[in-house]
Symmetry: C2
Subunit: 417 residues, 2 copies
């Protein structure tokens, strides 16, 4: 017997037929003798509808009221799934964030989970009850509903799995796992059987939008073994109920991954923009003078590269921001021109960041050189490079995105046989 938290996203519960299919997945695990709690998102499209209404009511709306409105979507799904499970003879009950309670901080609209007392849910397990919990929400210190930000149901599920010390957190979604790269770009992409938390964090934050980043961070901290798997497969197909290796990708501690690949996957992020400040005075505090005003304007700066210019007293500073923020960023920097002290701003939009990810590269030299050579052979110009222990990110021109992804996927031996 295992203790399993199952989470179903918006497309998996988009209508009553799909909710019924979800219920069959739950039934399979219950009938196998497992203790099961379920976390659900709002029906696909519902959250957008609610968000649109709050914006129509007032573009500058109060986050506490936004939360009261938007959290209703998950409540509806939780009730409907409980009803459906009951109709299949399963002892089920829906619970909202304020009932468990799932305690959050006061950051309405983007709250963080502070505490979940697992004993409430463990009591439900003891009664043989499947608790169906509204995702994406909790109870703030002001006794009001607080939502966790978009995609927060993944985080709800992992936090609940940690609180009840679940053996597994199964994230059911509209894809059947995590792939070596985006299969729409490279059809030879393979589904990974396992990926480490660290690698998944890089994959998720770099645009492989299978799981919310925060949920992966949380899973890593609490070592929650998390499966990404598809809700659209036949719930009763062979192997679906396998307690050890169900179909999908296991996100786990790297120690659990015996045969480590040097490179695990290739991620990419579109719509990057590059800003270069030419001949910046190279003095202490200059970075703060540049990036402080950008942070205050809530512009997310990503890659940062600094070169020494010819005479050594001046430096060139290059960094990237989302293309949507480029105009705002340039305006902020022009304002700070005197204080920072630079000659000129150059900028370019519509770029792409391609990243090579793998915990194996810690112990392998030459991984970066392989990428640079492969891209050079295809005539792809490299605009900037940043590296970390398990990742190499390369900024290139937008039109080369797909070619670069396929080239790197092939050169590291990730293609299907």
């Amino acid at each position: 017997m295992a203790r399993i938290v199952m989470k179903f996203g918006g497309t998996s519960v988009a209508d009553i037929d799909r909710i019924r299919n979800v219920a069959r997945h739950v039934k399979r695990e219950v009938e196998a003798g497992h203790e099961v709690a379920v976390v659900v998102s709002a029906m696909a499209g519902k959250t957008n509808e609610l968000v649109t209404w709050t914006r129509a009511a007032s573009p500058m709306h109060d986050a506490r009221e936004y939360d009261a409105v938007v959290a209703s979507g998950e409540q509806v799904t939780a009730g409907l799934l409980a009803i459906t499970l009951q109709s299949m003879g399963i002892h089920a009950r829906s619970w909202q964030g304020w009932q468990v309670p799932i305690r959050t901080d006061n950051a309405h609209g983007a709250a963080r989970i502070i505490e979940i007392d697992g004993s409430f849910l463990v009591e439900r397990f003891g009664e043989g009850q499947v608790a169906v919990i509204a995702g994406f929400q909790g109870l703030g210190p002001d006794n009001r509903i607080a939502t966790l930000g978009r995609g927060g149901s993944d985080t709800s599920a992992v936090a609940i799995a940690a609180a009840v010390r679940a053996d597994r957190c199964d994230i059911y979604t509209d894809v059947d796992g995590v792939y070596t790269t985006d299969p729409r770009v490279e059809p030879k992409a393979r589904r990974l059987a396992k990926i480490s938390f660290e690698e998944m964090l890089e994959m998720a934050s770099l645009g492989a939008k299978v799981l919310q980043v925060r949920s992966v961070e949380l899973a890593m901290v609490h070592k929650v073994r998390t499966f990404v798997r598809s809700s659209f497969e036949d719930p009763d197909a062979p192997g679906m109920g396998d307690p050890i290796n169900p179909p999908g990708t296991l996100i786990c501690d790297e120690e659990e991954i015996v045969e480590q690949q040097v490179v695990t996957g290739i991620a990419y992020a579109k719509d990057e923009a590059q800003i270069s400040l030419r001949r910046v005075a190279d003095r202490p505090g200059v970075s703060a003078a540049i990036f402080g005003p950008l942070a205050e304007t809530h512009i997310n700066v990503d890659m940062i590269v600094q070169n020494i210019s010819e005479d050594g007293s001046k430096t060139d500073m290059t960094f990237t921001v989302p293309t949507g923020d480029l105009d705002k960023a340039v305006a902020v920097l022009e304002k700070a021109k005197v204080e920072v002290g630079f000659d000129a701003i150059q900028s370019e939009a519509g770029l792409v960041k391609v990243s090579v990810i793998g915990i194996g590269m810690r112990s392998h030299a030459g991984v970066a050189a392989t990428a640079f050579m492969a891209l050079a052979e295809k005539g792809i110009n490299i605009r900037a490079i940043t590296t970390s222990e398990i990742k190499i990110s390369i900024l290139i021109d937008g039109p080369y995105a797909e070619l670069a992804v396929r080239t790197l996927h092939s050169v590291y031996g990730l293609d299907k046989h």
Copy 2:
């Protein structure tokens, strides 16, 4: 300064434009210096959508889960109205039933309000806050959301008005008051300036569907002065903010109605069916034998008339049920034939009950005779009659409904001048 509870129904908050209009009504009262709490229904159509989903999930769904799903409609409206009010510079905040809390009994799906501690809302008044409360729901003893049954937001509003000892409970709806009869049937119908609780109860339960019956009962018990008025009028039109006589109909204690009319209004209820049991053995317990099985089958019996037949040992028993329940009722009675002891069942569907209502008839003789004569003059056959202190109900053939309503409306002098 007055303390006012304002309630807005589903058609009044059907979309963001209408919610904005509702906010202007609230703003008017706030700017006049009143203490204001607001109760809202779900956006028109939303509750039906949610109910349809629960039925699709399972026709025999759990009432606790039904409540969790269906209550979300009012929560959304409350948040959207709070946002809209804030955008107009009004200090507003939404509250759900579990937060106030509005305590109910455990009858999920048709719960009754047990207690509202007014102090929570009085504190909000003290802060200058407009509390926007989700109607139709409260918190049951099981710490779960419980709904009050369809139309329950009227009851929420009156109960809240009683709890905070409001000077007035304004029920904003899609009609501008209570009329002497249905204006679609008799264009000469007049809007009543005032109507007593007792009369309104008869009007409401007899098919003038302006207010939920339970809300009127509650208003009567707690002597809550309740205005029925339109949300569709210009919020800033002259007289709309009149603290004593705003446009609409005041439902109040009869002592407040100085010039009492003998007859206040004419109500009607369509789709009645008549059942007659011929030559029933006239013995103790026979009524129980007839009406017990009907009650167990949840068939609502309305008018009951009993005549002694010729020889005195047998009786004829006539009563009405909704036409939709007729077949079921006849089947139940056929089953009980031996136990009850009767010769035959006769039945007829598609009848109409017309009622003359007025507290003045307590002290006036001949009110009933006037009705009978007026109907006889038009050749309308009377099938059954029941009377109470303030009401005469007459069962007639369906096709004569409109003629009978207009005839009675005229004969009691209710027509517009």
